[in-house]
């Protein structure tokens, strides 16, 4: 008796949950579907849900006509480049804070977090002018620098929370045995910290890939990443739903897949370790 009630309850909740989840996911699904339509089918009223002429011509067209490849490559270089440079700067810092904490460590961490609270627009003017005068405007190098800077606090924080969980005793023991800093890094940091570093890497690539303030303001046709490419569809003459959808699908697919893999780390990374 009790079992059948819980079973019915489970089925009811399953149905509700799936309906809600599909509704939330629907805009993405709709974008993907539209990307396989002809432009005519894409704007048809009433809309065609599944029964339309499936085509991949939008992908072919977006791929060949615009500089899609360049934008995609810019996204890759900017997000991965800034993440790797960020990690190189942040790993020693987080390592030191996690294993040789001083009284001021917490203050330093809080201060780093506070730099995240500075609104980007507050420093838009000087950054724009500096970039303009040094020729960094619309270059990948310039954006890599900015992305590194804006995400550095998150990288340090995230690594710190991971490193904190590596038992200190092991380090002490290694030091007793006379391990030098180099050996300490090589034999202890590497194996025990790799999962944390990997998660940080993943989350940071996602954040950098989707960043849309600096990428839109500091780039034009040379270094613009996908965020800027998609934004160019906002012009009225760019209103081709099927092509917009194909471009969008290609822009979000890699990051969506990475995101699904990193969903657990996401919580931890974005809450600076406050919620695990």
């Amino acid at each position: 008796m009790a079992r059948s009630v819980t079973r019915r309850r489970k089925i009811t909740f399953t149905i509700i949950a799936w309906v809600v989840a599909l509704l939330i996911f629907f805009p993405i699904l709709w974008t993907v579907l539209t990307s396989f339509k002809t432009e005519g089918d894409a704007v048809a009223v009433p809309p065609h849900f599944l029964f339309f002429h499936w085509t991949t011509e939008n992908y072919a067209e977006v791929w060949s006509r615009s500089n899609y490849v360049l934008y995609f490559w810019n996204s890759v270089v900017i997000s991965i480049g800034s993440t790797i440079i960020g990690l190189i700067i942040a790993i020693p810092a987080a390592w030191a804070m996690a294993f040789s904490p001083t009284k001021r460590t917490k203050d330093v961490l809080m201060w780093m977090l506070s730099t995240k609270m500075m609104p980007a627009v507050g420093v838009l003017v000087p950054i724009y002018l500096i970039f303009k005068n040094t020729g960094l405007l619309d270059t990948r190098t310039g954006l890599v620098i900015i992305m590194t800077l804006i995400n550095l606090p998150i990288i340090v924080w995230m690594l710190f929370t991971y490193f904190k969980e590596i038992p200190n005793d092991i380090l002490e023991a290694a030091r007793m045995d006379g391990a030098t800093l180099g050996k300490e890094l090589l034999y202890i940091l590497t194996p025990m910290a790799i999962p944390g570093i990997a998660s940080t890497l993943l989350l940071n690539i996602i954040l950098a890939w989707n960043e849309a303030f600096w990428t839109l303001n500091l780039t034009a046709s040379n270094a613009g990443p996908l965020t800027a490419f998609i934004a160019s569809f906002s012009a009225p003459e760019g209103l081709f739903y099927a092509k917009l959808s194909a471009a969008s699908t290609m822009a979000i697919a890699p990051i969506l897949i990475m995101g699904w893999f990193s969903q657990k780390q996401l919580v931890r990374g974005l809450t600076f370790g406050a919620v695990k």
Binding site: F13, I24, A120, P126, N210
Partner: protein
């Protein structure tokens, strides 16, 4: 047991990050303050005279300024309300024993990974367009007159677009907190005859307080700087109906090339963000220490 040696090397290891962030914080800020006192427009070459607080006076008395503050506030509060209430409901739902929980979770968090320009344009064109958007079609199904979302209720439209992207974030964090809730506590309460509602109010909600605080704090930081969604949908319009502080400063800087005025606006934005941050951290601090 940190020796002098390790302390010195620790300082060395931290210095690149600290120095880089320090420069990043100080140099642009100092320049913004400096520019904010100059008569400096990129379109008018020549000397940039010191003009005191004139830029601030113009910025603060611009009617668009108050509108932008109000819009910023509505945007932040609106999105927070939707994502937190929705997030709690969704998290409670997903936390139930259901079939295919993993897939449901994956579907629900997906919008978070969609870049702002994509979500804004997809919503604008394929859903909110009054002629061939899906919402218009749904309105017709019910015999209603479709509304032109971004023209008639522009700010609400942007709130909805942004909230769609942040709902997964709130859900995921609240869900994570929910899963650490002690089942026995709930069972005990149930034994004592507590109904579902009072269980939620007296056990679940207090347990979620920390997670909700974190959501408010982090979302606020990001929501104060909403930019791309406005840029690609309404350009701050109609009029200044969807101009938030970020967009207002952007338009002064990169559309009107008014370096001085935009810098003054930037400083105002920084001050306001800091007030919000202080205020938030004070409230949030108590919750986070625990």
């Amino acid at each position: 047991m940190a020796t002098l040696h390790t302390r010195a090397s620790a300082r060395l290891m931290m210095s690149p990050a600290v120095i880089v962030l320090f420069i990043w914080m100080i140099v642009p800020l100092a320049l913004t303050i400096y520019y904010s006192f100059l008569d400096y427009n990129l379109l008018t070459p020549g000397a940039h005279n010191f003009i005191g607080f004139t830029n601030y006076r113009f910025f603060l008395t611009d009617p668009a300024f108050l509108t932008s503050i109000w819009n910023t506030l509505l945007l932040v509060v609106g999105v927070l309300l939707i994502t937190i209430v929705g997030g709690i409901a969704l998290a409670l739902l997903i936390d139930q024993p259901i079939y295919g929980q993993g897939i449901v979770r994956i579907l629900v968090i997906a919008p978070f990974f969609v870049m702002p320009t994509v979500s804004a344009l997809v919503w604008k064109n394929m859903f909110m367009n009054p002629v061939n958007g899906l919402f218009a079609w749904i309105a017709h199904l019910f015999g209603l007159q479709p509304i032109d979302w971004l023209a008639q209720v522009p700010l609400l439209s942007i709130i909805l677009i942004v909230a769609w992207g942040w709902l997964p974030f709130a859900t995921l964090i609240i869900l994570t907190a929910l899963q650490s809730l002690d089942e026995e506590q709930k069972e005990a309460a149930e034994m004592d005859g507590a109904g579902i509602v009072s269980q939620f109010i007296y056990i679940t909600l207090p347990h979620l307080a920390r997670a909700i605080t974190v959501v408010i704090l982090i979302e606020t930081i990001f929501l104060l700087s909403i930019f791309a969604e406005i840029l690609v949908t309404t350009n701050g319009g109609p009029g200044t109906d969807t101009t938030n502080l970020t967009y207002l400063v952007y338009s002064q800087a990169l559309l009107q090339f008014d370096v001085g005025g935009a810098s003054a606006g930037g400083i105002v934005a920084i001050i306001l963000a800091n007030i919000v941050a202080l205020f938030l951290l004070r409230i949030v601090g108590k919750n986070l220490e625990a």
